[in-house]
Symmetry: C2
């Protein structure tokens, strides 16, 4: 499924092949949690930007509209009208983050639906079946995404159960024939404990699955680079590596530098809905008074469809008057910014100037952040 | 400004010429109250559908972002990135409908802003100046949109003041040179009193303005056809006639039949945001359970970009999970439906089969409404 192309330092480019098409790595996946991108963005919009794969969520789709309805529709691609590859997260993270009441058993995880409070049970076998019904291209195993911080003992017990769950997922994935249609990725856990991350990686690599993810890092963002560094050497070179839920442009550059191939994050669209927009000089909040008369596009020179048409002052105005269009425009721009970043990263690795590209990008990207500090708390409060 | 082309019965087609382009009549104006169409619809979307003119609002734009900012931007067209003609309502209706505390003087109307409670004053001269600053193509006079119901005495006093205001608007419109750049339309009032509507029409026609609107009819919808019928004979044949705030497809057909040329209404986008979609077999609410497994587009055979791509079950699903995209998709479809209706009306008048077209359209459009009744209250509750 994965074709390694070349390395520049530890940064690498490659290609993932799925039934719904090829994807160049490294890539960023726009998030369509329940089958739609937030901010009234259409799949045709991100297709035009060049995105090749999206992320959706097993847990959410299981609750609504249910995998059976999607299967009857000919799979998730047909149901949502996106003809490219899809990766679905298994729901482990969502059970942790959305459901207040949950119990973890060896058999699986019991929790209350965040929608209607109904009792739900997800087992490793169940998440494999749901993802098989969804007909997506990359399925994730059920894992326990450990809370942060957590004790070493808790993390150890948890990762060992995650490994046993991954083994059960693999077995069921083969048994029901899902292996013929979709890849299954395991998820390395172990919190911020180096020995545990290594133990988790080794155990999961023994299962010989098509790809490996590093999970449980969103909450421990300051330890992100460390965790990647001591995990990567234990992951196979010939399989894709996915850093779940990450992150800022800086996070992504740091992770690519350390050998990560795949990313997803709510940031570009969530920030957009709050008026935060990305430029090569850093991000800023377009709802601020200082943009009320600013006739420039969000970013000068940006070739996205929003910057081709709309001024900062117009976007600020429609934010001020609560028009939904404001969220669509900033979401479109931010997604384009992320896609553009990934395209530049690919080219830099291809032509062996990734280190220089990263240094130049971050120097420019952080230049504005420094200016902001000077203005003090009020300015920072907007970020 | 208005070129009369031909009549079919009292229904007529023509063309309005403005500095920002020509518009075929009869037409429907999508509403961009504060400079954006609701439901995250872009101007490029409605341009693709063939809409030639939009409506915006003097009162709202005066409050936010202010006409001076828009003037500095080169006018409303430049500010919002719509290069076609724009009509702005004067704010008379909004002062009535949005502001709880208002006082009407001979000089103008005093009210509290619905945004921040600040005291505001609009005079006939002021609304002409604001609309001149906005640089739009069709300006409306300041009128008092009488509450409904109201006594004949109140309506008489009010319409006579509205006439005096219209005369002051005209004078100022000439004085400040706005006449060279934009048309000014007067608004016939008089509530549901035939003698008063006629009196109002006669007085305003004496002012010899470029166009005439019939206002104050939204609240008295059941008397709509009557009001049009006894007003129209007193309006000039060679000037455009605008029925403000109307309406349903049936309202529009009835009004075109009686000689109306111009329409605007919140219905297609407001209904869309609540899941109500229009088809030639009537409207229905797509959020209903019965569409959960419906693989058809909103309307079979519809050539809009939404029906080309998305199923009822998908749109229902994303409504259920509160995705903004749902509102965009239904808004796009409903606006297309309205544009399509106006195109068909134009052709029918051009080829002298308007009466037949109207009868056929309404027979089909109401066919579903009848079916709905059979199912009783639950079904009707959804409409």
């Amino acid at each position: 499924m994965f074709t390694f192309k070349k390395k520049d330092g530890q940064a690498r480019i490659g290609e993932i092949n799925t039934l719904h098409g090829k994807i160049q790595t490294p890539f960023f996946m726009p998030i369509a949690t329940v089958g739609a991108i937030k901010g009234a963005v259409e799949f045709s919009d991100i297709r035009e930007m060049g995105f090749e794969i999206i992320l959706s969520n097993t847990y959410h789709l299981h609750l609504r509209p249910g995998e059976k309805l999607i299967k009857e529709s000919g799979g998730l691609q047909k149901f949502i009208n996106w003809d490219g590859p899809i990766l679905t997260d298994s729901g482990g993270f969502q059970v942790l983050s959305l459901s207040k009441i949950r119990k973890i058993f060896e058999e699986g995880v019991e929790f209350k639906s965040h929608i209607d409070g109904s009792k739900q049970f997800l087992s490793p076998e169940k998440v494999v079946e749901i993802q098989s019904d969804l007909g997506i291209d990359i399925a994730m195993v059920l894992d326990e995404c450990t809370p942060y911080p957590c004790t070493e003992l808790y993390a150890k017990n948890s990762l060992e159960r995650t490994t046993r769950w991954a083994a059960r997922c693999k077995q069921h994935w083969i048994k029901i024939g899902a292996k013929e249609k979709q890849a299954l990725f395991a998820i390395v856990q172990g919190s911020v404990y180096k020995n545990l991350r290594i133990e988790s990686a080794k155990q999961l690599v023994d299962l010989d699955l098509p790809g490996y993810a590093i999970g449980g890092v969103v909450e421990s963002n300051d330890k992100l680079n460390e965790v990647i560094e001591y995990t990567i050497p234990f992951l196979p070179e010939n399989k894709p590596r996915y850093l779940m839920g990450v992150g800022t442009p800086e996070n992504i550059l740091n992770a690519v530098e350390r050998g990560i191939d795949m990313f997803d994050c709510v940031l570009p669209t969530r920030d957009a809905r709050h008026g935060k927009v990305y430029t090569h000089e850093g991000s800023f909040n377009i709802t601020r008074q200082k943009y009320a008369q600013d006739n420039l596009p969000i970013e000068q020179g940006c070739t996205c469809q929003v910057c081709q048409q709309y001024s900062r002052k117009y976007i600020r105005h429609i934010f001020t008057v609560n028009e939904l269009l404001a969220m669509r425009l900033t979401s479109l721009h931010n997604l384009y910014f992320y896609k553009n970043l990934m395209t530049k990263i690919y080219k830099a690795i291809e032509k062996d100037y990734f280190a220089q590209f990263k240094a130049d990008f971050l120097k420019r990207f952080k230049s504005k952040a420094k200016t902001v500090k000077v203005h003090g708390l009020v300015e920072r409060g907007m970020f």
